[in-house]
């Protein structure tokens, strides 16, 4: 067998094994015969381990042959000729996706093993790992996606599992409502993503990144659409990325997402999920090159988010929110780097940050011990006081700045007032109209309005 076929096989295994894990856990749960904790652990470690080895094999064969682009094409899943619609599943292995997939597998493997002990004997053990496997599949799909449809599929799986795990402790109110908030913002991002995909299909007739970017290995491609098209698609994608990576103005959900068990917070909001927006921008970076306006927008959004997050992070008093904002700061800087055009730097930054932050989140509950040992080494109490820059400001400005940081930049209130309320109002108005219309048709006023006080 020639080398490329081996590579194909390994590439396929990388994608397939996580899907297998999801299927096994899911089917066993569906038929009401969940696996024992030990067996589930065995499957988890086994599939992720072999998948990781396969991805490493792909990497080494690519290094050996000097190839910079390998494709695993599963063909069209759905094809409707009349309307020129097809859902094309294709995976690419290139300089962007291989590091990303290895990172995903290493982190998921480690955090998965962590979760096996952490959730030992918890009543939601199976549910956790079902969502976890779903997340893993989503990450692999999103990292390796060669078409925008594939990326969307992965993106959705990540979003769904993420919202479900935020609401993991659904017997309490705040996880459920925060999960809903995360879900709502993800939907907004998804809508933007979908719009981008449609425009892309419309402009180029293809969702294939290869054709779009000119079939050259990342990051060398050049986009094959017009400037205006690039700006339109890019703006939609930027909104999608901002929603997924919690950039301004969507940042409010990130600290609220720290509701699930510690390992899920670590892998989602410290490591992988939160970087997915930045990854999307990296993937379509040739489009950014096409339109300088777009690049300015990316840089601007990144900068604003970074400053915002650094400021809000300063006043957080609980470890998980503090780490959430710290994550956001770095993700925003990564976005800036992408906008400026430092693609490799952004990739290295992303990987480094993911490793560092997930370790920090995993050991978040050990904070008191860490503080004690630092105190002992330094020989006095730790008190960080206030940042030096702040001291230069007037007392009133200090208070205003502190308050807006404490209220997290009023991000949630702004979204509620500017998007949710008009949206709800519009639909209640339509509901009223419809009611009066149907009542008129029915010739009576029997039916009454059923209002829902969602938010």
């Amino acid at each position: 067998m020639k080398l490329p076929e081996w590579t194909q096989a390994f590439g396929f295994a990388t994608v397939f094994l996580p899907c297998l894990l999801l299927l096994i856990i899911g089917i066993r749960l569906l038929v009401g015969r969940p696996m024992s904790e030990e067996r589930l652990g065995l499957y988890l470690k086994g599939t992720i381990g072999v998948s990781l080895l396969s991805s490493l094999a792909v990497l080494s064969s690519m290094l050996a042959t000097g190839s910079r682009l390998e494709l695993v094409d599963l063909g069209n899943m759905v094809e409707i000729h009349d309307v020129h619609f097809h859902l094309h599943l294709k995976f690419v292995f290139d300089r962007l996706s291989v590091p990303m997939v290895i990172l995903s597998l290493v982190l998921c493997g480690t955090v998965g093993s962590f979760g096996l002990s952490y959730l030992h004997r918890d009543s939601g053990f199976q549910r956790f790992f079902l969502c976890f496997a779903m997340f893993l599949v989503g990450m692999i799909f999103a990292s390796l996606a060669g078409t925008i449809e594939t990326l969307f599929l992965g993106w959705e799986l990540v979003g769904l599992s993420s919202a479900l795990l935020v609401a993991y402790f659904h017997e309490r109110q705040s996880p459920a409502s925060n999960g809903l908030r995360v879900w709502a913002i993800y939907r907004l991002a998804d809508a933007a993503f979908l719009a981008a995909a449609i425009v892309l299909h419309h402009k180029s007739g293809e969702g294939d990144f290869g054709i779009l970017m000119g079939n050259e290995p990342w990051p060398a491609g050049t986009a094959s659409i017009s400037n205006g098209g690039a700006l339109l698609v890019g703006t939609f994608l930027l909104i999608a990325a901002a929603g997924k990576s919690a950039l301004v103005p969507f940042s409010g959900w990130l600290p609220r997402a720290m509701e699930g068990p510690t390992p899920s917070s670590a892998i989602f909001y410290g490591a992988l999920s939160v970087h997915l927006g930045a990854f999307l921008l990296l993937r379509v970076s040739p489009i950014l090159d096409q339109s300088s306006m777009l690049s300015y927008m990316v840089v601007g959004l990144g900068l604003i988010s970074a400053i915002y997050a650094a400021l809000a992070g300063r006043v957080q008093t609980d470890i998980k929110s503090a780490l959430a904002f710290a994550s956001l700061t770095q993700v925003s800087i990564i976005v800036v780097e992408i906008g400026v055009g430092f693609r490799y730097l952004a990739l290295i930054h992303l990987i480094g940050h993911a490793c560092m932050r997930s370790l920090q989140l995993l050991r978040a509950p050990t904070l008191l011990r860490d503080y004690k040992s630092m105190e002992n080494a330094i020989g006095q109490s730790l008190d960080h006081g206030s940042p030096r820059i702040i001291a230069w400001l007037g007392a009133s400005t200090q208070r205003r700045l502190y308050r807006s940081a404490l209220e997290r930049g009023y991000m949630d209130a702004i979204l509620d007032d500017c998007i949710v309320k008009p949206f709800v109002r519009l639909f209640s108005a339509i509901n009223c109209l419809e009611l009066s219309w149907t009542n008129w048709l029915a010739g009576s006023s029997k039916r009454t309005e059923n209002t829902s006080d969602e938010r």
Partner: protein, 1024 residues
């Protein structure tokens, strides 16, 4: 006003900052009430459950943790004479209630009951739990009744057979009555029974309950609009309060904290802001007017209450409910204001009323915004809201006829009440039965189950002790060495294994600070920490100092530590900041190595880390600066070190408590204990409670150093306490999490003693392995067939594993405390559930002053531990802190659940999951008179015992007679038949078993030669 706040304060949780976790009675505020009433008050005020749910107790019945005879015993004891009263013809109250306990009485809504009769075989077959014989008896009596009476009556129209019963016979034509088989008779019987029950219950008045009153505006609005006004208030309040109380975690401290909670809030929220949540928009105006009209928080509270329309007579209740709406944070504000002078940023004195003032401002805004926004509440004035509470006026609701009838229907089957018999009941009998069933509601039944649960363990333990002390094992005459540990229940197994391995060894238990209260600072520590029970305030400061010969090396190591500490601090901060964070993150991939290593190979990683750690760790060859220098100042706060007299006093008292005086062996090893684990915000709770949540190693070391000091021994000798020159004390430390032991100051052991020490050490090494093995049976993640070595490795791994949420089980399963000579319990397998306090009644004086001071310490400490475990177990969400998995450390003072929530107090689900919630049972080797006189002298102990917060029994020092404190006084306890199994070793008993174990006699603990167990018989007789 301030009186109302003062009063409401008592109901707040009293847990302080989590770094110092002290077990205490969760319902401390209700200790003046009997236990049973107090838990109901807890239900009323906190809404937290008083007992486990009934279903949980029934599960325990399946595990044989409750037996029918326990239920019977506690029921007849509880009812007393009333139990014998006849409720209905031929059935006493006791029988009726017992049947309700024995099998569950199902219930449901009317439609559920209808469904049950329509869809299940409830009308075809007797219920589960009706045995064959009583079933036949019931069929037989029904047959007689129908054939003898009913058949004739039915044929006559004039007799008053109700229509319902007549209808039953439409389906059972009496023509063919001769040919009916049993199943047909059964159907008929049940149908008749059901109809008669319905009919009869209709005669009786149903017991009615009022819907609970609504106390706060939020409650009324929640009912009116189904919108919870508290949510947004808490969202803001949690954020603000945690910033206000922050102990230096945030990189930017809240401005104007020093001005107090109220003013800090006003100044922060008086500023213009970019945007405001819509409900908060009027806040600026409110603050402006507040500043003009109000000069202090108390006035602000009065104004708010006025605006809210709280009537004068309800102010106290309103304030109480308002403070309890966010109990964790509110309680912490109070704790930081009153009991936290040792923290970095304590809160100002009257913070609680300031907090209340702010809270009421926000409540006002949230409620009026809710009224304005929702159509269903529009037009209502804020001040009228409380008087709107309809539920207080509405008619009380009772259970429906069908529900009650269904209860009677089930009970009738079990008690063999046949349809004929019920048919003949008078209205009075029906009323009696209905009342009785209603009175024995869910709460009452659960109380009975709880009592039975305690009864089961209590009778097992008392029987075991009575039998064991009747035939005690031989205690050694030639003692090889003696071990003194903390009284902690976790040391019980360790002591037992020591005695098993060396039958000539003796063990003792004393509160783990070993009567040396001190402030201690280790050679590499930043601060002095108190090492003594929380109720004491130490007066002496003890420091650990390095050896002179290594001074330079020590300084170098200290400098390296300082550097590393600074580095890790700056990493800690900068990794979260913007620019330097980017720099760190670029190199962040390096974190992958520790990440993978620590998660997948925790034990190995920790070994490597500690290998590197030796480069900077301070030397172990340190000394304690115990003795006060001649030129040391003595101030109010205390002084450095102890005087020789103080040392002699402490040793005299410790040895007196232990009853070890006059029988010192050549080697006495004193074990302090503590626990270390990772990713565990509650780590301090696992440490020694007698050391105020610290580790007891330094205390043990201090005791050894003092008792070895010849000058101290001289003073003691003058007082008549002789410690032989050949006796050596050695201090040691036992880590209860990874079962490691460290021996302190071993370089100072004189050469003559070395072989003796090494021999003892070998025994102790084996004992700790066996201890790890015995502990490991409770960990489901380890095979039960493992070897000692594997078990030890497993517990070592646990303590180093970031992912481990149960590093050890701490005091879980604690259930008893024995105060007396070890000889009475030596060799009894107590399953790590019993605190063991040494006390020798034969050496005590006539006023039992030794017992008095022992009881003063153990009753509140062990009682507090037991009660905190009790409440956190029966209602883990209400009294405990819920599951550990989403915990989030906030402000360095406590944990929240997830992103933001109330501060959670109490114990986590993972800490209590194997606990059996029973009140602790003290068994004291003394005469009941001694306890009575202690109760007279100490009101706290009296309250604890009389109000039944703890159970207590006495074991006669000279015989095996046991007296148990029942409702009002001690009563003789009749032990059950002899049944204590005998095993060779502990392993033989616990092998292959994960659940709690009953008692056994472990023979290997017996010494070859008879010793001094009943020594001093005459003196005791003379005294008591």
């Amino acid at each position: 006003m301030s009186h109302a706040i003062e009063h409401a304060k008592h109901y707040l949780p009293t847990q302080g900052p989590i770094a110092v976790f002290i077990h205490h009675n969760t319902l401390h505020a209700f200790e003046h009430l009997p236990f049973d009433e107090a838990v109901l008050e807890g239900l009323r005020i906190y809404g937290s459950q008083p007992y486990w749910p009934e279903a949980k107790y029934r599960e325990e019945m399946l595990r044989d943790r409750i037996q029918f005879q326990d239920l019977q015993a506690v029921l007849s004891r509880d009812l007393g004479q009333n139990g014998l009263q006849e409720i209905a013809l031929g059935t006493t109250r006791c029988e009726l209630l017992y049947q309700m306990l024995r099998f569950p009485v199902l219930t449901g809504s009317d439609s559920e009951i209808r469904w049950l009769f329509a869809q299940s075989d409830a009308l075809d077959q007797f219920q589960d739990g009706v045995d064959l014989q009583s079933g036949f008896a019931m069929l037989d009596s029904t047959r007689h009744w129908i054939m003898r009476v009913l058949r004739i009556h039915l044929s006559e129209v004039v007799t008053n057979i109700p229509e319902d019963i007549r209808e039953v016979f439409n389906h059972f034509p009496l023509r063919s009555v001769e040919s009916w088989d049993d199943s047909k008779w059964q159907q008929l019987t049940l149908q008749l029974l059901w109809q008669i029950c319905k009919k009869g219950v209709r005669f009786a008045d149903q017991v009615k309950h009022r819907a609970p009153a609504l106390h706060r505006h939020r409650d009324v609005l929640l009912k009116l609009t189904s919108f919870d006004c508290d949510l947004r208030v808490h969202d803001l309040l949690v954020r603000f309060t945690s910033s206000f109380l922050d102990q230096g975690f945030a990189g930017w401290a809240i401005p104007q904290r020093e001005e107090g909670f109220y003013r800090c809030f006003l100044s922060l929220f008086a500023e213009k802001s970019l945007w405001t949540e819509s409900w908060l928009r009027p806040l600026r105006g409110l603050i402006a007017s507040e500043r003009e009209t109000v000069s202090n928080p108390l006035e602000s509270i009065a104004l708010s209450l006025d605006v809210l329309g709280v009537p004068e007579d309800k102010v106290e209740g309103y304030i109480q409910r308002t403070l309890l709406a966010l109990p964790g944070w509110t309680g912490m504000v109070e704790q930081m204001a009153c009991n936290a002078s040792w923290t970095l940023h304590p809160a100002p004195k009257d913070s609680l009323s300031e907090f209340l003032a702010v809270r009421l401002l926000l409540d006002r805004l949230s409620a009026s915004h809710c009224i304005a926004e929702s159509p269903s509440a529009s037009g209502i004035k804020l001040s009228d809201l409380l008087s709107l509470d309809e539920s207080a006026k509405s008619d009380p609701r009772g259970r429906s006829v069908d529900q009650t009838a269904f209860d009677v229907f089930q009970i009738a089957q079990r008690l063999g009440w046949s349809p004929g018999r019920l048919h003949s009941w008078s209205v009075r009998e029906w009323q009696n039965v209905v009342d009785e069933i209603a009175r024995f509601d869910d709460l009452e039944r659960r109380r009975m189950f709880h009592l039975a649960y305690e009864h089961r363990y209590r009778s097992q333990l008392l029987d075991a002790i009575a039998e064991h002390s009747q035939f005690p094992l031989k205690v050694p005459a030639n003692v090889s060495f003696q071990v003194i540990t903390c009284i902690d229940d976790r040391e019980e197994s360790f002591r037992r294994h020591v005695e098993e391995l060396d039958p000539n060894a003796e063990t003792f238990g004393a509160a783990g600070f070993f009567n040396v209260p001190m402030y201690f600072r280790g050679s590499a520590d930043a601060h002095f920490i108190p090492l003594c029970p929380i109720i004491m305030v130490p007066k002496n400061y003890v420091e650990e100092v390095g050896p002179l010969s290594e001074k330079q090396a020590e300084t170098r190591r200290a400098q390296t530590r300082l550097l590393l500490g600074k580095a890790s601090q700056s990493f800690h901060l900068s990794s979260r900041s913007m620019v330097s964070g980017a720099a760190t993150a670029l190199l962040g991939s390096l974190n992958a190595f520790p990440l993978v290593a620590r998660v997948l190979f925790p034990r190995l990683t920790s070994k490597i880390r500690s290998r590197f750690g030796t480069l900077v760790r301070p030397t172990v060859a340190t000394q304690l600066r115990l003795e006060r220098g001649t030129d040391t100042e003595v101030t109010d706060k205390g002084a450095e070190g102890f005087t020789l007299t103080e040392m002699a006093n402490m040793i005299e008292r410790l040895t007196g408590d232990l009853g070890i005086q006059g029988r010192f062996s050549q080697l006495v090893i004193v074990f302090g204990h503590g626990s270390s684990s990772l990713n565990n915000p509650h780590e301090s709770a696992y440490n020694c409670g007698a050391c105020g949540g610290g580790q007891g190693g330094p205390n043990a070391r201090a005791v050894a150093q003092m008792a070895n000091d010849p000058r101290v021994r001289t003073i003691l000798k003058e007082r008549g306490l002789h410690i032989p020159d050949s006796t050596l004390f050695v201090g040691a430390f036992h880590n209860t999490c990874d079962d490691s032991t460290h021996y302190l100051d071993i370089d100072r052991i004189p050469p003559n003693h070395v072989s003796k020490f090494l021999a003892a050490k070998e025994v102790l090494e084996k004992a700790r392995r066996r201890n790890a093995h015995e502990r490991a049976r409770r960990f489901y993640s380890l095979e039960m067939t493992c070897s000692d070595e594997e078990a030890l490795r497993h517990v070592e791994r646990r303590s180093q594993d970031l992912a481990q949420v149960r590093p050890e089980y701490n005091h879980a399963t604690n259930a008893a405390c024995f105060v007396g000579r070890r000889g009475r319990t030596r060799g009894l397998f107590l399953d790590r559930r019993c605190f063991l306090t040494s006390y020798d009644p034969t050496t005590d004086d006539a006023t039992t002053s030794i017992l008095m001071r022992i009881m003063q310490a153990v009753i509140p400490v062990c009682g507090g531990i037991s009660l905190e475990y009790y409440f956190s177990t029966v209602d883990n969400v209400g009294y405990g802190c819920g599951t550990k998995l989403p915990h989030n450390i906030t402000s360095l003072i406590g944990v929240m659940e997830g992103a933001a929530s109330d501060l959670r107090t109490g114990l986590s689900q993972q800490m209590v999951e194997i606990h059996e919630p029973v009140r602790i049972l003290f068994v004291v080797e003394a005469k009941p008179e001694a306890i009575r006189s202690i109760m007279d002298r100490n009101p706290l102990i009296d309250t604890y015992i009389r109000n039944h917060w703890v159970q207590i029994a006495t074991l006669d020092p000279l015989s095996n007679q046991i007296q148990l404190f029942q409702e009002y006084d001690f009563e003789a306890y009749e032990p059950g038949p002899r049944s204590l199994p005998t095993v060779s070793t502990s392993l033989d008993w616990y092998r292959g078993w994960r659940e709690p174990l009953s008692f056994a006699k472990v023979e290997t603990c017996a010494s070859e030669s008879e010793g001094v167990s009943m020594r001093g018989k005459e003196t005791v007789e003379a005294r008591v």
